[in-house]
């Protein structure tokens, strides 16, 4: 099946998030997937849009659904107010036996899991929206923060500014480590220059 390497990649990402104390709900996987793919160039075959609370990929949702259908993952319910956690399914070990670890993306996965793994969902939503605004519109910190508040009216201005500031730090660190590849640094993406 052509999708097995993708399934293995997502299984690895979810595992790394769990290792760092994340409860690994769908929101975590969605937002972390956005950073991995659209910032660091890890191919998740996921088209992202700005949805109710930040970037969201229906493609990634379908991939998770397919992984559950093949029993590579499952959803484990949690007590209120947490959503379900993505855990390994009955055939996860079979998937691992037949696929290689995504070694070429190890650094990117570690970087994102380290940075985002312990964050709460609302923070991830703000950071994800900050990255969306940065990648699509660019501009300075204040303008991007204002744009976040326009797109997500429930986000307070101070929270939006914190998100942009943290994102810029994250991008700078990723660049220092050579993780931001050329295609992300397009002309319209000023913050990445």
């Amino acid at each position: 099946m052509n999708d097995l390497p993708l399934f293995r990649l997502i299984l690895t990402v979810a595992g790394e998030l769990r290792c760092r104390g994340s409860w690994t709900g769908e929101s975590h996987v969605q937002k972390v997937g956005y950073f991995l793919q659209d910032l660091l160039g890890v191919p998740l075959k996921a088209d992202y849009i700005l949805y109710k609370h930040g970037p969201h990929s229906f493609d990634l949702r379908r991939t998770l659904s397919a992984m559950r259908a093949y029993q590579y993952v499952d959803w484990q319910p949690n007590p209120y107010p947490y959503g379900p956690t993505l855990v390994e399914g009955q055939l996860a070990d079979t998937l691992k036996r037949f696929t290689q670890e995504p070694a070429e993306y190890r650094e990117q996965i570690d970087f994102v899991a380290e940075w985002l793994g312990t964050k709460r969902v609302a923070e991830l939503e703000r950071l994800g929206t900050a990255l969306y605004v940065t990648l699509t519109e660019g501009a300075g910190v204040q303008d991007r923060a204002a744009r976040i508040c326009e797109l997500e009216p429930h986000v307070a201005p101070a929270e939006a500014q914190d998100a942009v500031t943290e994102l810029d730090r994250m991008i700078a660190r990723a660049r220092e480590r050579g993780l931001v590849s050329g295609h992300e640094a397009g002309e319209s993406r000023q913050a990445l220059r």
Binding site: M1, L4, W23, G25, E26, S27, I49, L50, Y51, K52, H53, F58, R61, R62, S65, A66, R68, A69, Y70, Q71, W75, P77, N78, P79, Y80, P81, Y82, G83, P84, L91, T94, L95, R97, F98, T99, Q100, R120, V121, A122, E125, L151, H154
Partner: protein
């Protein structure tokens, strides 16, 4: 707005009601075309009763969407401040406006369907096109937009709600309210589209699995904040009293997929139809011009199939013959958990070896994973708290996701292929894993 109310009899909802303004949209050419688009493609070759059309389904979706709107916007049913801020006041202009937009979007949500509905639109449209893009273009076209403006709704609003955020051609940002309205039509769990097609397909196919207590479910729907740690995203959920009917809906969906939509003969007819259309259509694809789209219906395709069946030299003759004379390919293998545990590539390997043994033109593969989700939704309890459905319902935890991956062969080699598979299957799929081990 005209006050005259019209009633249309319907086997699911008893009556579908619409006013004279809305009837102008019903009478438009794009909508009337749906009288000749089968809801379930060639399924009627397997389930003879399943001859219903997108026309009546879309009327049903409009009726249900309007009823859902009335329930979820009732001030008594708003249980959280974040939701109260979202929903228009029933006395306001916005309240009636958005209800009209929602009903028109529901009525028109399927106008972009190709002949025989979903069958293989990925291969039969240019790259990046889906029927929702045609729906969008039709709503914005001169066939519909002037009528919509005449009845005082913005066509862009109707198109936006009809196609939803994922399929919007310009990836427009939806407000939370627009996202909720779109969810009322096409939501994973409780979308009016899904509710209507389960009930209607079930009735016409004579498969009782699709039934559930939709009257009870409708009354218990609410817009609720879905808790995710410290985040509260609004979505459509239910009050506790609707849990059993929601469970029933989600299991109905599972059974309808496994029993009806994934019926192996129905699926192979879709494949033969796609092959026929690829040969018969100019350049192997449907046109994406709205004028051309309106000219082609199921009747045109069926006539072509009959003609090509009679003409040995006609384009698409072999595929036409398979459909017209029921000489469809036969199922010889379907993916199953036992073989998947031995080797996740089992279907790939069997397909490859069958191709080598019998020739690729004798073999067909059908792989499909449905676009369904939605067992996790918020539930408002009697003590005023909101829980995830997965923490409230052991039943919902067990609703499987599902996929099909099947191999078919030409009817003439069916027996030989089955015998050959029985003899060689286990050896083929026990191919070594990456460490060189075989199970």
């Amino acid at each position: 707005m005209s006050s005259k109310l019209h009633e249309i009899r319907d086997p699911i909802h008893a009556f579908v009601r619409l006013d004279s303004d809305e009837r102008k949209v019903l009478n438009s050419a794009p909508y009337q075309r749906l009288r000749d688009i089968h809801q379930l493609a060639l399924t009627y070759l397997v389930y003879p009763g399943a001859t219903h059309r997108r026309f009546e389904h879309s009327l049903g979706v409009m009726e249900l969407a309007g009823r859902i709107y009335d329930v979820v916007t009732d001030p008594e049913n708003l249980h959280d401040d974040s939701v109260r801020r979202l929903v228009p006041n029933p006395q306001s202009f916005d309240y009636g406006y958005w209800k009209r937009v929602l009903r028109m979007a529901a009525l028109l949500h399927d106008v972009g369907h190709l002949p025989f509905s979903h069958a293989a639109e990925k291969e039969l449209l240019p790259a990046g096109w889906k029927h929702e893009r045609l729906t969008y273009d039709l709503v914005m076209s001169d066939y519909l937009a002037p009528t919509l403006r005449q009845i005082k709704v913005d066509p862009e609003h109707v198109a936006k709600i009809a196609v939803g955020p994922e399929k919007h051609p310009a990836k427009a940002k939806y407000t939370k309210w627009e996202a909720i309205l779109s969810e009322i039509i096409a939501g994973d769990a409780f979308g009016a589209d899904r509710m209507d097609y389960l009930l209607r397909d079930s009735l016409h196919a004579g498969v009782s699995y699709g039934r559930f207590d939709h009257f009870r479910l409708l009354d218990t729907l609410r817009i609720l904040p879905r808790s995710r740690d410290d985040s509260k995203e609004p979505t459509v959920g239910i009050v506790r009293g609707g849990l059993e009917s929601a469970e029933s809906l989600l299991w109905a969906r599972y059974f309808m997929y496994t029993q009806l939509y994934f019926h192996p003969v129905r699926r192979i007819y879709d494949k033969h139809l796609k092959e026929f259309l690829q040969e018969w259509l100019p350049d192997g694809r449907f046109s994406t011009k709205v004028e051309d789209h309106l000219q082609v219906t199921d009747s045109d395709v069926l006539t072509a199939i009959r003609n090509c069946d009679r003409d040995d030299a006609g384009r698409g003759h072999a595929s036409a013959r398979r459909i017209a004379r029921r000489e469809h390919f036969r199922l010889v293998y379907e993916m199953n958990p036992a073989d998947q545990e031995v080797n996740p590539n089992s279907v790939d390997l069997l397909e490859k070896t069958l191709n080598e043994k019998f020739g690729g033109d004798q073999i067909r593969r059908d792989t499909y994973i449905p676009e369904v989700e939605g067992v996790d939704f918020p539930i408002y309890t009697r003590d005023g708290r909101i829980f995830s459905s997965l923490s409230m319902s052991k039943t919902l935890q067990r609703v499987p996701d599902f996929a099909v991956d099947c191999l078919y062969v030409h009817p003439q080699i069916r027996n030989e292929a089955e015998s050959w598979l029985a003899e060689h299957r286990d050896r083929i799929i026990s191919e070594k894993d990456k460490a060189g081990n075989s199970k």
